[in-house]
């Protein structure tokens, strides 16, 4: 078994708001293996983006606060490092790309300057060398006519090209770990397919690990080796892609998979999950999914289910699996 490169243990994050303090991530465990892709999937407000920001300690505190837990990266707990040590890691050993490439790029700097900046800061290269390396990166992410593009500004590029530039910046220092937060959500499907292919290809070439945060189960199935499903701040199920998609165990995962419309399945009603995701202030007692769960039992209303072992790699936080835990 491969050793985990990134390992979150019992992570708890809360937010201070006008109406009180709320746990947004509650006891999350996940590990990303070396050279593999882990998909963190869930609907809006489940805590997946907050988790990703906390890993790089980019979460705004306050209002956010990491209450407890650890973020082990290559054996070291990132939460115990100094800000200076963190700076050595960000963009260098762990990089991040975001959903909206337009807002993450600086509109008044050229593409070349923005990529070169990474080399100047992290590797202290001079301007000319840094620009040369920037050109290589544009080649690597398959941007046509890189010489021309180096001198262009973000607004001159299409959405897909901007996301390629973001990837070039993120991968400039050949990080061991890439955190991608909804990297293709704002893109058209044909462009999304290009970007996913590119990420797959670069992962093989550079041997990096990827934490892919997305709401799109289709994207997860296509690129992820392992999956963690989150609901209302908790991981409800985790396992290999094969286990999650072929044999989902948690009623929430099952419901999600059934409610996705698929090509060629016309006109029948879709299966749905009744109700809505509970707001932070109205999270139910016990299992947070119990008020929407078709298989709810009395114990679900009273106490929160721990992770039950379904197989060596497959965990389910659902009381139905209690007996199997033996």
């Amino acid at each position: 078994m491969t050793e985990a490169l990134l390992d979150l243990r019992d992570l708890a994050i809360s937010f201070q708001t006008e109406s009180g303090r709320f746990r947004v991530v509650d006891g999350l465990n996940l590990s990303v293996k070396r050279g593999k892709t882990l998909g963190l999937v869930g609907e809006s407000g489940c805590g997946k983006s907050v988790t990703s920001l906390s890993i790089l300690r980019l979460l705004e505190c306050p209002p956010g606060h990491i209450d407890s837990g650890s973020v082990f990266f290559d054996g070291k707990d990132l939460l115990t490092l100094t800000e200076e040590q963190m700076r050595q890691i960000r963009g260098n050993r762990i990089s991040m790309i975001f959903q909206e490439p337009m807002t993450s790029l600086n509109p008044v700097l050229t593409i070349g300057e923005q990529i070169a900046e990474v080399y100047r800061i992290h590797q202290r290269l001079n301007r000319k060398e840094a620009l040369n390396r920037a050109r290589e990166m544009l080649n690597l992410v398959r941007i046509p006519s890189p010489d021309l593009r180096l001198g262009e500004y973000p607004h001159q590029l299409s959405g897909g090209m901007r996301q390629r530039v973001m990837i070039a910046i993120a991968l400039a220092c050949r990080p061991e770990m890439l955190i991608a937060d909804e990297p293709t959500t704002a893109l058209d499907v044909t462009i999304q397919a290009q970007i996913l292919n590119l990420m797959n290809h670069l992962q093989k070439e550079l041997g990096m690990s990827i934490l892919m945060i997305t709401h799109d189960l289709g994207v997860v199935a296509e690129v992820c080796d392992d999956v963690v499903v989150m609901y209302a701040g908790k991981a409800v199920e985790s396992g290999s892609s094969e286990e999650i998609f072929r044999n989902p165990q948690h009623p929430y995962t099952q419901g999600l998979l059934r409610s996705v419309p698929r090509l060629g399945q016309k006109a029948s009603r879709l299966e749905t999950i009744e109700g809505v995701v509970p707001s932070l202030s109205k999270r139910p007692s016990g299992c947070r999914f119990h008020d929407r769960c078709p298989q709810v039992r009395s114990i679900c209303r009273e106490s929160s289910p721990p992770d039950f072992v379904h197989s060596a790699t497959h965990r389910v936080a659902c009381w139905q699996h209690q007996k199997e835990d033996g």
């Binding site: 499907v189 044909t190 709401h215 419309p261 299966e271 749905t272």
Partner: protein, 329 residues
Amino acid sequence: MMEALPLLEVRNLKKYFPIRGGFLGRAIGQVYALSGVSFRLEQGQTLGLVGESGCGKSTLGKVILRLIEPTEGQIFFRGQDISRMRLNELRPLRKEMQMIFQDPYSSLNPRMTVRSILQEPFVIHRIGSSGERQRWVAELLETVGLSSEDLDRYPHEFSGGQRQRIGIARALALNPALIIADEPVSALDVSIQSQILNLLMDLQKQRNLSYLFIAHDLAVISHISDMVAVMYLGRLVEFASSEDLYRQPRHPYTQALTEAIPVPVYDPQKRKESRKVIGGDVPSPVSPPSGCHFHTRCPLAQDRCRTDVPQLRETGDGQRTHLVACHFA
């Protein structure tokens, strides 16, 4: 039934937006949003309009309602040409055609209660007494799965899915025949998206509604639609029944779109070999490519595609229509 008029028919619809610039603000170019679109929508059916950003699908929806004036072409609603109709003639017909928008956050007035949002259509069209309106709005809200107790709440008190239900209730208020839904579920989470799609399908059965359903997601479109029109850069490239389009996509663009959709199924085979993916970006509608608009990205492109515009032609078996605009399909 064969003789019946379609509910909606558009013929050779064009819309060019001028680009203004320079000292005098003269038109210095044009955005070719719609370059000659024709189709029919039968009563009680759903026509899905699918395409990527900038293909003109939203413009088409707005032009049909005359929220944007067409540059050229005709729009027939129940056989009547509404494309040049004056606004006072159009107003009674507008009761029959309603719209649902993508963003339930920005399409509801945040300062109005649900009650006043739902009453507004009756007020504008001067329908019903105050007592009748009260009864109707309560019924409407229950029709879309909310409770009449919610009438005096404001939009921000609802979740995205609930707001979309309010938008649907407003569209239903005047008992329309046609609803144009522009990306009605794309801002919603999966579990909520399926609830709204089911609601729309139930309402269609109960009220014999026709939908023009605009979306970028081919899976959603193929699920809800009887007929599907695929758009690329202002033109229809393929028009077929939902089943035929899935079983036999004939246009290379439709094939690429189908291939590009990530499917939530574990398939080790598909993961090993990188998927076939079309390269390039959608060209700008300011200067669309000559000939077939898709030729710059098409794996099958020949010389002819660069010069000749392919017409939509019938490739069906005579029973069912299957139109494709490709020289080689």
